[in-house]
């Protein structure tokens, strides 16, 4: 397939898969915000998600496929880029490249490690089985996701791991969002400053939104 061999084609795959995962992250944040509605809010949301198991499986498989493509082509492009620039300069100056733009491969791989931990923790519930929602049910007989989250984030180490994880995701997105928009060609001289700002605002919302859950629990807002 020509798209997979061409430099621009590979970038478009990175952009489309990245944007799909970003959309999922936003939906995930909005869904998780139901925790602010108390135990009934997030438990109802979780039960509704699991009610349609076929849809859930399809979404999970799509995300797994897109994530694999993103990691594969990201690694391939980085290896090729490093080979194309084997030697640096005695004086290194960056005029517009940022720490985030130069470390996408590392922030990306760290996000992948965080996602694996997150899945083992909350989805498969194997890292902390004593607080598993599979074992505890709420008053309405549903998996008690609220209690699982609250008990988890009372551990300082787990809460810190999540804040760091979404922090690294934020760093990745700070370059990734505007880069994706540019890659699919949605850029012009007039809208370029807006694209840079919108990407920045979006990743700050995502970072603050996700880190608010462990911080709220650690500071005792949820008990």
């Amino acid at each position: 397939m020509y798209l997979l061999k061409n430099s621009v084609g590979r970038k478009i795959i990175m952009s489309v898969t990245g944007f799909t995962m970003l959309t999922f992250v936003i939906v995930h944040l909005v869904g998780n915000a139901s925790i602010y509605d108390g135990p009934d809010g997030i438990n109802t949301y979780a039960a509704a998600l699991h009610h349609n198991s076929t849809f859930l499986l399809a979404v999970r498989l799509t995300l797994l496929g897109f994530c694999s493509l993103h990691v594969f082509f990201g690694t391939l492009l980085t290896l090729r880029n490093n080979a194309a620039k084997p030697q640096g300069y005695a004086v290194n100056k960056s005029l517009s490249a940022t720490f985030a733009s130069k470390n996408m491969i590392w922030t990306g791989l760290l996000v992948a490690v965080f996602i694996i931990y997150h899945l083992l923790h909350f989805t498969f519930q194997v890292t902390n089985p004593e607080i598993s929602a599979f074992k505890h049910l709420d008053a309405k007989g549903r998996h008690d996701v609220f209690t699982m989250i609250v008990l988890s984030f009372r551990h300082l180490f787990i809460a810190l791991a999540y804040v760091c994880g979404v922090g690294i995701l934020g760093l990745h997105l700070s370059h990734g969002i505007q880069s994706s928009i540019q890659t699919v060609g949605l850029n012009s001289r007039k809208i370029f400053p807006f694209i840079l700002k919108s990407g920045m605002i979006l990743w700050i919302i995502i970072f603050l939104g996700f880190s608010s859950f462990p911080i709220a629990i650690l500071t005792g807002i949820f008990k």
Partner: protein, 250 residues
Amino acid sequence: MNLTLYVWRQKGPDKPGRLEEYEAKGISPDMSFLEMLDVVNEGLIKKGEEPIAFDHDCREGICGTCSQVINGIPHGPQEKTTVCQLHMRHFRDGDAIYIEPFHAKAFPVIKDLIVDRSALDRVMQAGGFVSAHTGGAPDANAVLVPKSYANVAMDAAECIGCGACVAACPNGSAMLFTAAKVAHLANLPQGKVGAARRVCMMTDAMMNEGFGNCSNHYECQAVCPKGIRVQFIAKLNREFMKSQTTTRRD
């Protein structure tokens, strides 16, 4: 002005290179950077040493030959300026100046500060042209070009193919150069002929020549002596996507 220069010296393509220290004394602030190097070379020749090899041609800022990285920035610290148009008044007396050739796998060093940039020519040869039977000479205004399109095409055509974008890019990508050439023709009615083929052939040639991929650091735009913008890369990306929906790639 008296300056200390650290200049990349390399005897040949396969020889190891290193920075060597030279003193540049009695330099006038009105000299161009290349004239300063001429003075240093005269001193080296008088001493019976090998002069510093560097590329130059027009010395008017339009040929794009003077490929040097000065203190880590291709073409030096002044915006939208080639090395030949960079004047010594932009430096201070006593400054230390590091002068290196453009570094990229696709730009092998020939000698000292001279690199082989013919890979860019081969990217052009792959598709940076319009090839069509035109018949007799058409009337002057037979093909109308809207002014706004002509302006954008001329902005893209400002690219002098100096390779500073490649030198500055952390990935050694020639995407800004390729995008300028693609956007130049894609904005004109004459360039619509073979547009799908052009973008595919040129981006493929870019990869085959050993250039890296664009990951939107925008370093290229920051150092371009002609102010070529990264929006041309967005245009190239759109042209590529269009090419994938076109069945006939003539």
